[in-house]
Symmetry: C2
Subunit: 211 residues, 2 copies
């Protein structure tokens, strides 16, 4: 069966997004600072059709985390477009060729027909909860990994459901002060650090969730 992983950037004070998320600040005020290290890598830039960037330890981490994923699960807030019934003109933040290139199950309370994008990404909207999305993601992924893409609420649901096999934290040395946390109300999972990659920008720790 496919393993379920999540990789996410987190501030030293435990936030994966800043406060007051909006169309102007999709990751909340200051939240984009969590991802500066990603944008600086050549591997991320290549995946997003951009040139340049650094080929460093962080770039290798990005490359590794993009490979082997057969399906993604994300929350409605990460997909974007505001709350309530869908404005069907909203097709995600990523343009017509999103970087996922797999089936993406989007958790929502509002039904919507699937969106087939370019490059292998399809967005399927799941209204019957995390468990149902996980089942569909596993079926789509086959032997490949199911990646929990975010945001905070979806990661919390995966942790609380005991669904995660691996959590890969990119610990960014900034303090956001406010925002969204991933470890609130997730119980007491047993985690074991299995790999650490250090760079001047961020500390990457891969944890196995012990069952």
């Amino acid at each position: 069966m496919s393993s379920v992983t999540c990789q996410i950037s987190i501030s030293l004070d435990g936030f994966v997004a800043g406060p007051r998320q909006s169309a102007d600040d999709p990751i909340g005020v200051g939240g984009m600072r969590l991802h500066d290290w990603v944008f600086a890598t050549d591997s991320w830039r290549a995946q997003h059709g951009q040139e340049g960037g650094e080929h460093n330890a962080d770039a290798q981490v990005v490359e590794d985390m993009m490979s082997g994923v057969g399906a993604h699960i994300m929350g409605r807030k990460m997909f974007g477009g505001g709350g309530g019934p869908w404005d069907e003109s909203w097709r995600g933040w990523w343009g017509e060729d999103p970087p996922f290139r797999t089936p993406v199950l989007v958790l929502t309370h509002h039904p919507r027909a699937p969106l087939v994008m370019e490059g292998g990404t399809t967005f399927t909207f799941v209204t019957d909860g995390f468990g149902a999305a996980l089942e569909q993601a596993r079926a789509a992924a086959g032997d490949a990994q199911v990646a929990i893409a975010g945001g905070a609420s979806t990661v919390r649901q995966a942790l609380a459901a005991g669904a995660l096999d691996e959590l890969h934290l990119h610990i960014v040395p900034i303090i956001l002060g406010q925002g969204e946390r991933i470890f609130d109300d997730v119980g007491d999972p047993v985690l074991e650090p299995v790999e650490v990659v250090a760079s001047p920008a961020v500390t990457h720790v891969r944890y196995r969730v012990v069952r």
Copy 2:
């Protein structure tokens, strides 16, 4: 001038102590789990007059962090004995030969005469705030380091005052859910990871505070 350092164990959800600290649970409910990795090392055990323990990467970290310290600063809660005016029979958690072996400046609102302990530890009670304690600690430490021993409130004061030169986090893969945090209301210091030591139990990241 002496540099000011702090090393502290922190849970994945950002707590350095559990909730409901008391004489029975000095580090709060569940908080002792933050320190299991320390108690398992031969270097900690030797310093506390105990035999055995592991000689591993964690033990080396403990050895390094104990050397080169010329004075400690701690909060009243860490020194213990309850709130309000002093019960003078309380001489700290550590017995007559505490492991600090330097002058220790204890932040308190209630005056008390200094306590000269065995092995080089003296507790001096400072009632005029963190800045005054820092000044006394620097004078006592000379060229050696001033170590902020804890707890959470004292670390927050050091961070907020811009007094820290180095913060050494021992990131323990547990989730406490509640307790005391060190990064609330400390502003937005710039931190740079300068050394990472990984073990199966804990990830040690040494941050330089950039000025």
